[in-house]
Structure formats: C-alpha cells, structure tokens
Symmetry: C2
Subunit: 556 residues, 2 copies
C-alpha cells in the first residue's frame, strides 16, 4: 500500500471562508447587502477564472446582479467561466465585452442569439458547449460546478429564506449544486419581508441577500395571441389531432413554444370535442401555463399540468386552479424546471412543436448561420428517452410500428416516444422549411462547434405534419424510405420537388404518408372560426377575468 497522502482535502472550504472574510471586512457581518454595495461584494467573493452561474432562466432573470457584475473592475475579476441556462440580457454579453467573463456554457440564447454569434466570431466569447437544460443541470454536479451563483427570488426574510413562488424555475438546482460544493450563493430579491409566504430555498443555503432597486425581469415567453393564428396552422392542428393524438390516444403531452401548438390547444374544446376525444387525449401536461390552454382547462379537458416556469399574467388564474396546477401550502404556484424537464423526458408520451428547417434525413434545427439560439428544453423532450421502461398504449403502439426496431434490438419489443414536428413548407420570405443542408452546418463552422447543433435527430422524429400531409417516419424500414416519406410532404421546396408520385402513392398505401383527404379532413374547414378563442380578450373572458395579460398583449 502506498504512503498516505498529505494532500489537503478542504481547499474549497478554506478558500470560501477567505472570500467570506474579505466580504465581511468591507461590508461588515450580516446576510443583507445594500444595492450600492453589491459591486464591492462581487469583487470580494468572485475570483478570476471562477465558474459563475448567473441565473438567467427561460423567464426569470437575475438582472440586477448581472448588471452589477458588469461593473466590477476587470483587473480584479476576469476570465470568468459562465455556466447558465440562458443568455437573455444585454448585460450577459457585456460581461464578455468588458473582459470580465471569457467562456460560456449555456442552453438558450433567444434574444441575444445574434450578438452571441458576433461575440464568438470576434473572439470575445469562448464557447464551451450548448446544452439542453437538464443536461446542463447534470453537469452542475460533475464538471461545471458553479463556484458562485447569482440568483433571483421574489422575497427573502432577514435570515435569508427565499420565496421564489411561480418562478421557482432553475433556482433550486443552481443553489444546491453551488452551495453543497462549498460555493457562494447571492440572491437578489424584490423585497425583504418579515416572513416569506413559504420557504422555497432554506436560509442556510444562501450567503447574501440583496434587495434589488426594481423587481427582477420576467419575460412572457409562452403567450401567443390567438388573433395571429393562421388557417394553415389550424389545418395542421386538425391533422395532428385526428392523425396523431387520436390515432395513438396520447394522454400525456408536452407542447413546444409557438403558434402551431397554440392552435392545437384552442381546437381541443371545438374540433377535439367534435371528434369525441375528450377524456381520451391530453389529460396531463408538462407545460408552462400557456394562456391558450385556458379554454381546454375550463372545458374540463385537462387534469394536471406541471410547469417549468411561470407565465406573466397567469399567476392569479393558476392560483385559482389548484386541482390542475402545482400550488404551495401558501396558495401560490410553484414551478420547477428540473422536475418538469424530467417529466417531459420520461413521463409524457409525446413532444410536439415547430422547427425552422428539416433536412432530407429528418434532422431538424432552429439554428441559422448567424444566430446561436441554443436548445432550451427541446432536445430533452424531442427525443426517444432510451431509459424509459414503463408502458402506455401510445408508447407501445409507436414502438410496434417502428420499422427499424429489428435492426436495433432484434426480436426484443420496445416502445417509442412520439416526437412530432409541425412544419410549414415555406415560412415568411419564402424560406423553405425543408432543405438539403441545414444552416446548422454553417453555424458549426462559425461557432467552432464539434458537430452541427441539431435540435431533433431524424431517428428520434416520428411524425412530420405539413399542409401536404403527415409523414409517419418511424414506420419506415430504412433511411431511404424515410427520405421518400419526407419528400412526399415537403411541398414545393427543393426537397419536396424530388418526390416521385408513384413512390408517394406506395407510401400512402402503406399508411406511411397520409394527406388531409386520407385523414378525412376537408382543408376548407380549417378556418379561424374553429378556434375556441379568437384573441387575448377571449382568453381573459374564458378565465373569468383571472388571466391578466401583460400590456403588450392588450389592444382593447
């Protein structure tokens, strides 16, 4: 046996104690730190090269702490490795422009996607990897452990107990990964109160609390105005309901963000009712509180919804529907992105959403060459979860139909999750929805990625729905057959023009391609009159006034 090591085993803890002492020397003792002192606090507790988590979620943003981090002296604090869900604010990019941060590992960069691409091109940002949320959370415990976390909450008490309420989102996982690996947790809060309505994060997991001069920024990312839903979207929604939801009896679902799935939500109480599907589909969701789901909830379609985050304006409605949503003992909602993503991966039978481009093999992506938008939760829910072992009728049926199953697992039966893309053959400015080569290849080159950032891979994708028809891709026995099925529904795009009518005829005979006519759907019926709500005002009416949309959605 070799000699006992003389290594120290508590270096992180000692280093943390030193940082906290440095902070105490400047600011005195106590957890509550005044807004004016935050920059000095950050300079005391963040060291060059640290991995720092700046809470930027899908919705909630620790915007005040982000802005103050931009003000630290780059001679003192530099070379930071940011590990965070979302790059959503100007300040997130500014950190790099000022030389404070150097590297980023993240999931989603919607509004900053263009600036991020530029910053990578110019060498100001070194890109680690782009993740799906749950994957990034996993790495917080393995090789991307934050040294310091800057998070956001609605309220704190003087001990530091945090109330995160409807927008709990990523906070629990960030705080646990940081604090239990000896790291430092700083929370900005909208207010300090005598007693928080409930404890979402216990005080002893939090080092500092900063009352922020204004409430944290919150983006209503999942609100879609029914007035903007097109008849083409309504047709695809009808096809999806009849050709997929009903065909497989899909009870547990995640809907992507966008107008395509908003149309489906608004057809449940009308077209869905007409098809006799109430009780047979859509009883439970892993889903944010989508306002367009209100009519289906009010009509008794939905038994349960677990939310990734909150949605601005939906707080009161959710609170009053405690049988459907998850609500705390205090009566206010709680979301949790980690648990909702787990549910979305393993416990729902179908993911359905829209995309920008699908290639000839069925790989799809929202990447464009000059914008690094990231993945968010889509790959985690838009894939076949290979660790799943429980059976449901939809999962078993899809697995039975899997034409490539024998090539993969021989004689062994296995189910398959439904992964559906709703796709317009041409988007605005006549950009084709089907392409020979995804823009993701260009983005790979521009961003220095190892492989193209594919949102959903062809072998995970089971159905494509276009106005031309549904391609049941998983029924194909080979990739050649899959390519033919994709061509058959790709319309007048360069990919679709390669379709061979006799080949398509054979695919229709075999139930691999179904046109609206094959599905018994008259496209002329796809009118806006079928929607259960025509506009945001209708949604407010459906909610009995409980839904209070943000100003930008109110035009009455």
């Amino acid at each position: 046996m070799q000699e006992m090591s003389t290594q120290t085993w508590n270096a992180l803890r000692c280093d943390t104690a030193e940082r906290l002492n440095a902070a105490a020397e400047i600011l005195g003792d106590g957890k509550i730190v005044a807004a004016k002192d935050v920059t000095r606090l950050l300079e005391a507790v963040i060291h060059p090269g640290d991995k720092v988590n700046l809470e930027g979620n899908n919705q909630k943003q620790a915007d005040f702490l982000a802005e103050r981090l931009c003000r630290v002296n780059p001679k003192k604090v530099h070379g930071l490795h940011m590990v965070q869900s979302s790059i959503a604010l100007d300040s997130h990019i500014k950190l790099f422009e000022k030389g404070i941060a150097e590297k980023i590992d993240f999931s989603y960069a919607g509004p900053q996607a263009g600036k991020l691409a530029d910053a990578i091109q110019s060498g100001k940002v070194r890109l680690g990897d782009i993740h799906t949320y749950l994957e990034l959370f996993g790495r917080y415990f393995i090789d991307l452990i934050p040294r310091v976390a800057l998070v956001a909450a609605y309220q704190a008490d003087r001990d530091g107990n945090l109330y995160t309420g409807s927008n709990t989102e990523d906070t629990p996982v960030i705080v646990e990964a940081t604090k239990f690996k000896q790291g430092i947790v700083i929370a900005q809060v909208n207010e300090i109160v005598e007693r928080v309505p409930r404890v979402d994060i216990p005080a002893d997991w939090v080092d500092f609390v900063v009352p922020s001069p204004k409430p944290f920024y919150l983006e209503p990312l999942f609100t879609r105005d029914p007035a903007l839903i097109t008849e083409s979207q309504i047709l695809r929604a009808m096809m999806a309901l009849k050709g997929i939801y009903a065909e497989y009896g899909v009870q547990t679902v995640n809907h992507g963000i966008g107008f395509d799935t908003a149309a489906i939500e608004l057809l449940l109480p009308t077209y869905g009712e007409e098809l006799g599907l109430k009780g047979k589909i859509c009883s439970a969701f892993a889903l944010n509180p989508h306002p367009t789901l209100i009519p289906a909830i009010e009509s008794g379609w939905v038994k349960n919804i677990h939310c990734f985050g909150g949605e601005l304006g939906m707080e009161q409605y959710v609170r009053e529907r405690s049988d459907v949503f998850f609500i705390g003992p205090d009566g206010s909602p709680r979301s949790n992105r980690t648990y909702a993503q787990i549910a979305g991966h393993y416990a729902v039978d179908m993911f359905i959403g829209g995309t920008l481009q699908i290639d000839e093999d069925g790989n799809s992506s929202t990447a464009t060459a000059r914008r690094i938008a990231g993945f968010g939760g889509a790959p985690n829910m838009g894939c076949d979860p290979k660790g799943r072992r429980h059976a449901s009728p939809a999962w078993l049926q899809c697995g039975e139909e899997n034409g490539q199953r024998e090539a993969l697992v021989g004689r062994m039966p296995r189910g398959k999750r439904l992964v559906v893309q709703l796709q317009e053959t041409f988007r605005e400015k006549m950009a084709p929805g089907f392409v020979e080569r995804l823009d993701a290849w260009n983005l790979m080159e521009n961003a220095g990625l190892s492989i193209p950032p594919v949102m959903i891979y062809g072998d995970d994708l089971t159905h494509i729905v276009t106005e031309e028809g549904i391609a049941y891709l998983h029924r194909c026995r080979s990739i050649e057959e899959r390519r033919a099925a994709i061509r058959a529904v790709a319309g007048f795009t360069p990919v679709g023009l390669k379709a061979n009518p006799s080949e398509t005829r054979l695919l229709r005979d075999r139930g691999i391609v179904k046109t609206p006519r094959d599905l018994g759907i008259d496209p002329a019926r796809a009118s806006r009159g079928l929607l259960a709500a025509q506009n945001v005002r209708d949604l407010v009416r459906w909610s009995g006034g409980l839904y209070q949309p943000p100003g930008k959605f109110k035009n009455w």
Copy 2:
C-alpha cells in the same frame, strides 16, 4: 364561446383540509405526533384508493411508518396504490397481504423480489409498471402524483424543518410532488432537536413529524469486500481499463453496483498508474460513496463525486473530503438521487456494470423468471441519452465509430455514450451469462407485463467485456454483425459455441473484437496482488481510520 364552467377547482385542497381536520380532532393540533398515535393518524389522513408514497430508497427506509401503515384497519384504509422507489422491507409486501394496498408502481425490489413475484402471481398485488428511478420521479408530477407521502429524516425541529443529511436521496422530489399538489407529508425522524444542523426540507412542506422509536433502517448496499474479488474479475477490469477507459479517455463515469467495478476502482492506483492514466481518466463520478474507491481518491485520481445516496460507514470519510464530495454548510454530506441520476444520464460519458444475462442481440437483463427485481437507476444510465448535445472526446469518438449511425441519422454526425457490460461467461452453478432467450420473457408472462423487462437494450450497449475479450458492439454495421461479435466473446455458452473462428478472425482484424492478447494483456498478471486493497481492513487503513465499516464487514 361555451358557457363558463361551474366546476370547482379546489377539490384536492378542500379534501386535504378535511383530512387534516379529522387528524386534529383525534390528535389535537401540532405537527409532532407520538409514535403510539401514528396508526390513528394514518387512518385519518389516508383514504381508500389513495396513491401513497412510502419512502423506500436504495438505502434509507421509512420503516417505522411502513410498519404502522400495516396496522391500519383495512376496512377503513384499503385499495391503496403505492408509488415508491423501492420494495425493500417485509412490511412493503405485508401491506398487500393485509388488503391495505392493491397496486404498485416502483423501481427496485432487490431483497423482496421473490416475494413480490409470488404476490403478483397469487393476485394480491396488481403491478402497474417497473421504472427506472428518474422516470418514476417524472411520473410523480404527471400521472402518479402521491396523495400522501411517508418519508424519513435524521432529525426535525419543532417547526418541522427536516435534516436528511447524507441520506437525502429521494426525499426532496417525493415531498415536492406531494405537497405542492395539495397532498399530505408525514416524516418519521430519528430525533427531535432544538435546531437542525441545516434545513434539507423546509417546515412548511411537512404536515406531521413522528419521532420513531428507533433510527430508520439503512442498507449498506454499495459496500464490496475486496477479499471476495476474483482473478477473473481482475482480468476483465484490466481489459476494461486498457481497452475502454484508456482507449476513449473516459473522464466522467458511473459504476454499477458489484465486484466487477469494485475491481476497476481498486486497480486505478496500481494498474491504472502503470498505464499512465492518472489525470487522463476517471476524474469525476456520479456514484455512491463506494468504499473501494477510497484508494483512488487518496491517491489523487478523483476530483469530484456526486452521490445518489449515502453509504453506511462512509459518513465521516466523506465529511472529511469536502473537495471531492458534496457537503452542506453544516459540514455534513448531502446526497440527492434526482440530481445524481440526471448527472448519470446526461453528464457522464460512460456507464459500466455487470448483468446476469445477455441475449444474442445484445439485450441484457437481471430478471429471472421468479423474481421481480426491478431496474433501479441502471436503464437511465445504461442508455444512450438521446437529448444530450454537449461534446466530449469520448462521446465524439464513440459516435464516430457507430456503424449504424448512417442508417439512423444519415450524414449527420452525432456522439454516443459508452455503455459497457462486464460479463462472466458462466456465473455460479454454471449458469451461462449468454443465452438464446432472456429469462425476462418468462417474467413478462408471470408478471403480466406488456414487454420483457430489459435492463439495457442492444442498441444502447457499446461494449461487452468477458474473459475471452472485448466486443466493440457499436462498431458493427448491422445486427447480424453485432450477433457475431457477441458470439465471439461468449466463451463456451450455447451462444458462444455458435461462433465461427474465421468470422471471429475478421472481427478481430477490424477491431470489433479484441482478445486479451490483442490488447497486450497477459492474463497471468491478473492476480489479487494488483488490487490496491486486499480487504476491508486495508480500506480502513487507506482512509486513515475515517471509514468505519458496519460490523458485518469487519472480520478482524
């Protein structure tokens, strides 16, 4: 628009209030309930047909509450649907024998696997599904939401704040799913204290606290005595280290339970050092605190370990290694099965473990016809996580080698996780490790499952290591080729006897099969002298006395 519904939306909350009132009428107000009153409490708050979560984890068991639940009057409380991780105790089966519970959804049933099979056969237990842990946790938020949860903690204060420490395990996810859907949470604790060392579960998430007459039961499930490691296991461990860990530069790993991976852990500071692998492999783990990992930790191989649960006897050692393990602000360890499973699914490059049977297609299972053992975490980690998007050298290399990739995703590159089975061609009593038909098929029939309970599917499995050699299955271009590679390493089993020497020769030429000689390994070197520790006492020495093994592992 249809008329506003007159439905009530807070039925669960009203029902909960009624139950809590019923409890208060019997027991008075206050969260703390005396052990003698627990049966009456359970009769008051649990209603017939409820979904009930009885915390039974891999290690920690809410055994006192389980035993008291067996004592309720089946006329009052019956038809329960148990949703719980593990069926580990006699009381878990007794609930069904007494007619209190009726249906079960679970993950793992090691010690009760035989009794469970009998109870299903005799119609006493209706089986829902068998899950992997994370999958079951996901369903807690969708369609298996517990109405009442019975959990275990080390300590509580008088407000009901819980300290779960090293054995936090499943408690946070169970409590959150239950309490935020208006359910009722009851915790058994080893003691009530003035102030808990830290808050693991906040008081307002807990309805009742019961001081248990004795500490909760804890199973040292991951302790392996080095004295029982065989030379055959050492040979396979050498092959795995040289032919897989080194070949792919695997830095982030999960090890299965068992002697095969214990052998690998004990070879790191010896054979691993000799191969120059220190720093190049195994720097981070999602893993319980395996005592056999102590020599590698002490030798500076391991930078980080995140744990699913605790391991009896390892508490003090873990506590003193805060740079490596996750430790709370109070200085004691915290585990979290949810987060460790997420890390094991998405953030580690390799799962490696042992199994009982592998079929000709590469599907493997630990099922036997008369024992329903369940899956635990294995399928979640022993699969290719299709939602993964970040790249690592190991993942990219394995994906590059994937012979079936083009058939699945066309020209699109994608990585692949390493999933390795260490397999003895013959186990004790000459049971073959390779079979033409898995016992899982018989179990499917006996237990009324929809499909056979496969632990790891053939398309997820990348490598099999037997004493004959390593089969690099993912390099095969077809399932026929995969079958040939399996036969080539299956020794004298019925499967192995079908191997064709000239076919095997070709596979060796192509690097799909490698014998020990191909790997440059002399089987004669596979002796116990290579292990960094020969027995449990050596492990204690390596730990400087910090590891305190349970009595049953002490023979000195």
